[in-house]
Each structure stands twice: as structure tokens, then as C-alpha cells.
Symmetry: C2
Subunit: 186 residues, 2 copies
Amino acid sequence: MTAETDVRERVLDAADSLFYSRGFSAVGMDEVRDAAGVSLRRLYSAFPSKESIVLAMLERRHEQWTTELRAVVDSRDDPRARILAVYDYLSAWFADESFRGCGFINAFGELGGVSPAVTSLIRAHKQSFQDEMARLADEAGAPPPLAPQLAILAEGAQTTAAIAGDPLAAGHARAAAEILVDAALA
Amino acid sequence: MTAETDVRERVLDAADSLFYSRGFSAVGMDEVRDAAGVSLRRLYSAFPSKESIVLAMLERRHEQWTTELRAVVDSRDDPRARILAVYDYLSAWFADESFRGCGFINAFGELGGVSPAVTSLIRAHKQSFQDEMARLADEAGAPPPLAPQLAILAEGAQTTAAIAGDPLAAGHARAAAEILVDAALA
DNA sequence: CCGACGTGAGAACGCTCGTTCTCGCTTCCC
DNA sequence: GGGAAGCGAGAACGAGCGTTCTCACGTCGG
């Protein structure tokens, strides 16, 4: 069973990296096989189809993102600092040289119009982020409108950083968040 | 010559609608031909390749977007109202039933990793929007950091409205923009 | 030592794609 | 009226896709 999960991990690692950097339809299964170092036979015994790999990869990405974000947030105690920590997490992420935007937003552009399964997974991921923001805003005692505003800032920072290639977007979003938080708590 | 431009327009109309709603690789040239009501022969005499259609379509979309946005902004006189008009424009756009996010952000996800020409066109479009925001913020006498913050709000509203399917994102972004503008002008 | 099984490498399959070519028909100019 | 050019419809082509199959080989229980 370990061998089986190992194959799945290797395939998901390779698929995540390739699909994230080049998109889904631009990457063939042969390339995934080569990058994973796995035979096509084993690959298709671990996953029934390419789409199932995409779905599994997005699920794993969602869990990684959620875990990492929570870790950064939980390193702070002050409710205001916990909110702002979200943008610090974004800042560190944007600095990664292989950063090419939010994988879920990218997937939505390519597959959102044709794959309902992928669409609902993307939606769930973004909803979970909004819930997280609502929790943090609530902890700080802020009124309800703050949370969606903070989430919108985070989303905008991601696409701006990706397309303009400007990691400073996280700083701008953080500065705006500070103003909004302070205004909401006043 | 009119016939030639007519063919181009018909093809671009069809391609824009199809590519925007389903993505690029999910739509074949046969489908574009059917929707455009043009023979494949004429289609390929007007455009050398599928990618050239994508590029022409994005350029046209950029001009439409810029023109429409300027019209809404120019319907206001007060500098503060001109800034907020941007989010009113977004609000009206999100209400369109065929809205599926920003076509440029979507294109970036699918083609940004493989087509440099498409990437630089997308970048130019987003840069032009940031420039527009900088002009509006400058008109209002706001300090420099405001403009990127307003732009990030607009980008975030677009992806949030698209993925969550929530048109209210424009309202949240507008409310946040009001707070940021007032804080910057205080 | 042997046969059954599981595996890796990659050929093969069926399909779809972007693009080009064929062919019969229309059109229009002289 | 005749021939050359342009056109639409769709077949054809070559490539690439996701997926499956073949086959030779290694492994291992008996």
C-alpha cells in the first residue's frame, strides 16, 4: 500500500508543478509520466483519468495552502496582527520564483467553463478562504462587511502579483487592509 | 475591403464569445467557423492561425473595456465619484448573466505559461488599468499608494464575483474603496 | 525449476485538433 | 458565351492527445 501512495504522491507532485506552470491542456500525460518517474501503466492504475489527477492535485493544494496559512496566522496573538499575517503569507508566496498566480484562479480560467467538478472544487477553496477571513474578522470584533473586503484584497493581490509580476502587491494589499481594519474597529 | 473586415468582425465576435465562456483549447476552429457563419477558407485567409485570433480578440476586448470604463467615469465630475464609478462599472458588468470573470485573467491561467505574445498583451491590459487608476487618484489629489490599492480591489472583485458567483463583490469593493479614498484624502 | 503473475517500456489505438487541399459551382469581365 | 478567378463545403492530412495493449522480463511460491 505504501508503494501505491508513493506513486500517487510522485504523480501529484509532477502534475502540480507542470500544470501550475504551463496550464492543463498544454501538458500531456507522457510529460507527467516522465516527471513522475513512473510508468504509464502504474500511473493509470493509481488514477483513472487526467481529470482525476487534476482534482486530486487541487485538493492537495487546498490542504497545503490552508495549513500553511493557518500556521502563519497562528504565529500571532493580537487579532489585528492575525488578520495582517494573511498578507505576510501572501508576500512570502509571491516572492517564490516559480509563482504564477493562484492555481485555483488559473484553473478556473481554463477548466471552469467545461468541468463542473473542477469548478465546484475551486469554489469550495475560495469559500473556505472567505470563511477563514470571516473568523479572523470576528475574532477582532469587526462588523461583518470587513471580511469580504479583506478577502477581495487578498484575491486582487494574487492576480496583480501574478500578471504584473509585481510582488509588492502584497504590501499594497496589507497597507489597505490596515486602513480597513482600523476603520472597522474605530 | 468591407467584406474582409466584416469577416474579421464576425470571427472575432464568435471567438470572443466561445473562448470566453469555455476557454481556448476547449473550443475548436470548426466551432468558431460555425458560430461565425464563415467558411474555414475565408477564416484562414483573414487570420493566419488560432493564436492570432486570440490576440486580436484580446486587443479588441481591451479597447472595448477601456472605452466603456472611461464613459462611465466621465459621466461624473467629482474626483471622488469618478474613482467610485469604476466599481459601479464592475457592478453592472458582474450582473451580466454570461459573466465569467475577467477574460484576461482567465487567458493568463490557460495561456500565460506557454504564449509570450498573449502574456505581454495581458500584462499591457492590466498595466493600462493601473495607469487609469493612477490618473483618477491623482486627479483627486491622493498620495501615490492609493492607486495600486484601488486597482487591487477591482481585480479582487472580478475574481471573487466570477468564482463565488457573487455580484455583490463589486459592492464590497466599492465600500472598501470609499474608506481608502477618504483615508487618503484626510 | 517452473509457471503464474506483476511490471516497465513503449507501441498502438481511436480520436480530435489546427491547418490545408480538392472539387464543383458561381460570378464577372471581355 | 467563355474562361479565369473566387468561393463554400467538407474531405484530407499530419500531428498530438488520453488511454490501453503488447510483450519481454524479473520475481517468487511451490
